[in-house]
């Protein structure tokens, strides 16, 4: 039930974005023969998934797949499946045949989790450290204040060499080889690393590091509740959401948050910060979307409206199968027109990519960091008759200039990435690049009335 190894495909990782707890997939693998009623529910679920994709998937060609053929191949298999584990595997096979992000099955045993319940505890705990695979190393890039990791003395720049019993460099090498040439290799590696670092709250997660002096450090700090507050949207599993705002240097606004979720809590904070930036004529604003996994499109539209006039531009277009919808912004009465720097990295996904690319293509943002994950789509989730959650992509997204982000990601204007040395020196080179740019910009006319 613990994420003790890296899966070898991106698909499995995508299923976890949005705080889907596939790490505990074994929960669903109960080998009990299906009673007739359950079998019917599994069959009904199979048909619903297949039909929904047939009728709603944005790509009517199914990427060249013979969709009826897929049905005819898998239907007999699910009819003869003996266990819930088998039917679940077949359902996932059906969804994954499209090879698309945002198309997956989340087993009922995991999706039934609700905020605050014990069921979510299996994978929500963390040490309070954030890590990325950079080059071939798993590096700590951030340690949350007051977290178990900080208490234990972990510092940015330390290399993670063992998680539980897993040899991390060996795993990275193996999967990097398997993923050679895969456009989303970095996303998959860093994403899996993040999940491998999670576990049950209270669990003593055995970690081995190489510290700044090259010494081996073993830690087994108990995992704590994740940073932020749990937010649950409908049937979706809960997500811990946080936002952080502050003033940097001489009057530069800084906003970081980890998901476009929990608008009731996040939007007032975001709005208040932007009101301050306008009132105080901030020299610039930095949107730190590193590690932001996306979420609700409405929040992207609402936040984008602080920087972009809806009469002048839009973020992109959602391509449904038979329609197109503009991904607009909701412009505020007074807009911030000063320099906007957007920080992204390989775990900036979906809404983060839409906002970053949208601001840039409208001349309202400059992007710093590393290429994003490349999973911008409009997804939808439904509960299946058997209790599983079914996520599917109802629209593809293209930027204002017609660029597809899926599978490609958003390439920064200024590429900057951490190194072990920079992290050990306490530097954030992405943030530094953004700050330096802002300080060179013309800071007149920072505000504009909405047209």
């Amino acid at each position: 039930m613990k994420p003790t190894s890296f899966p070898n495909t991106g698909i499995r990782w995508f299923a976890r974005t949005g705080a889907v707890l596939l790490a505990g997939w074994a929960l669903a693998a109960t080998a009990v023969n299906l009673p007739p009623e359950q079998r019917q529910l599994e069959l009904d679920s199979f048909e619903l998934v297949w039909t929904t994709l047939r009728d709603q998937h944005f790509d009517a060609t199914f990427g060249g797949l013979d969709w009826q053929g897929v049905h005819d191949e898998l239907r007999p298999k699910i009819e003869s499946a003996l266990t819930r584990e088998e039917t679940s595997r077949i359902l996932r096979d059906l969804a994954h045949r499209l090879g698309q992000s945002h198309v997956t099955i989340i087993p009922a045993e995991l999706s039934a989790s609700t905020a605050g319940s014990d069921d979510t505890a299996d994978a929500k705990g963390g040490s309070g450290l954030e890590a990325r695979v950079i080059e071939t190393c798993a590096l700590v890039i951030k340690v949350d204040p007051g977290s178990p990791a900080e208490t234990a003395g972990v510092r940015p720049g330390w290399e993670i060499v063992r998680i539980r019993q897993e040899d991390v460099p060996a795993q990275i090498a193996r999967f990097a080889k398997e993923l050679q040439g895969h456009p989303q290799k970095d996303l998959i590696l860093s994403g899996e690393l993040g999940w491998a670092l999670r576990g049950k709250v209270g669990e003593r997660l055995a970690l081995r590091f190489i510290d700044g002096k090259g010494e081996t450090v073993d830690l087994a700090a108990p995992l704590a509740e994740p940073r932020g507050q749990l937010f649950q949207l409908g049937h979706c599993p809960p997500v811990a959401v946080w936002i952080e705002t502050r003033i940097l240097g001489t009057n530069i606004g800084y906003i970081a948050f980890n998901a476009f979720m929990d608008p009731v809590r996040l939007m007032p904070t975001f709005n208040e910060t932007m009101e301050h930036a306008i009132r105080d004529r901030a020299k610039g604003v930095i949107l730190d979307l590193r590690g932001n996994t996306g979420g609700m499109g409405a929040m992207v539209m609402g936040m984008g409206g602080w920087f972009l006039n809806a009469q002048e531009g839009f973020l992109g277009t959602l391509h449904l199968r038979t329609n197109e919808l503009k991904h607009i912004v909701w412009s505020r009465p007074q807009l911030y027109r000063g320099p906007v720097a957007v920080l992204v990295d390989t775990l900036s996904l979906c809404g983060s990519e839409v906002l970053a690319a949208g601001l840039r293509e409208n001349g309202r943002g400059r992007i710093f960091g590393t290429r994003t994950g490349g999973v911008a789509r409009a997804g939808s989730v439904m509960r299946l008759p058997n209790g599983d959650l079914f996520m599917f992509a109802m629209a593809d997204f293209r930027t204002r200039n017609g660029q597809r982000i899926k599978g490609v990601g958003v390439t920064p204007d200024v590429e900057a990435n951490h190194t072990r040395e920079s992290l050990l020196a306490g530097r954030d080179v992405m943030l530094e690049a953004a700050l330096n740019w802002i300080l060179t910009q013309d800071n007149d006319n920072q505000t504009q009335e909405r047209k």
Partner: protein
Amino acid sequence: MKSTRLNNTSWMTGRSLALVCRLALVAGTSLLPFYAEAETPKLPKAEQVLEDYVTATGGKAAYDRIQNRVTKTKVTLPAAGISMDMTICLAKPGKAYTVTESPATGKIEQGCDGEVVWQNSALTGPQLKKGRERADLINAGILDRWTYWPSAFQKVECVGVETVEQRACYKVVAQPKGEGNAQTLFFDQTSKLLVKLATKVESAMGAVPMESYFSDYRTVDGVMLPHQVKAVFSQLGREMVSKVVA
């Protein structure tokens, strides 16, 4: 038509929030008009169908006595497990105010004085509605628009008979004044009640087709009102159900 307004608001909230949803296929009925038309060669005038509806639901005098209405509803996306509380206030002439609240959206207010249509929330900030979206919301805010349809529509026409949920219905196309979207209404031939409305829902993002199904009519203040509305957005695979709770 309160229900239309309710669905408009829900739609904007639901879609733009990228709320999770479920598939709900809309049963096609394209062949039915031909069959039905063959059986009903002479159609009534749309004016008569509307008058029958007003009469069946309480009569013009009852509608005239109503100056305002406050309706509390629970809007759900059943498959996604999302629900919102919505309060709809309508007052003559053409004034409307709705407030929607849920953990997913926070508080969203929308208002109309018959001319200006606005919306405000932490998500969007204050916004003025424009174009067809504005026109549709103004139209939906007219409390007695079927009693005095010429105040809201430039033309109504009965164009055929269709079966909706096993009921033979007159199909009436109503073209709003101004730039609003046409509304296709389906009135049960037997009960005279409005059972379905098909239109496009506009927002700044674009337009999507919506079909609303009205049921559970109950009498309130002397007129019968649908207490349940199911809105189907087939392009989005989304279905929302609104139930009156007070």
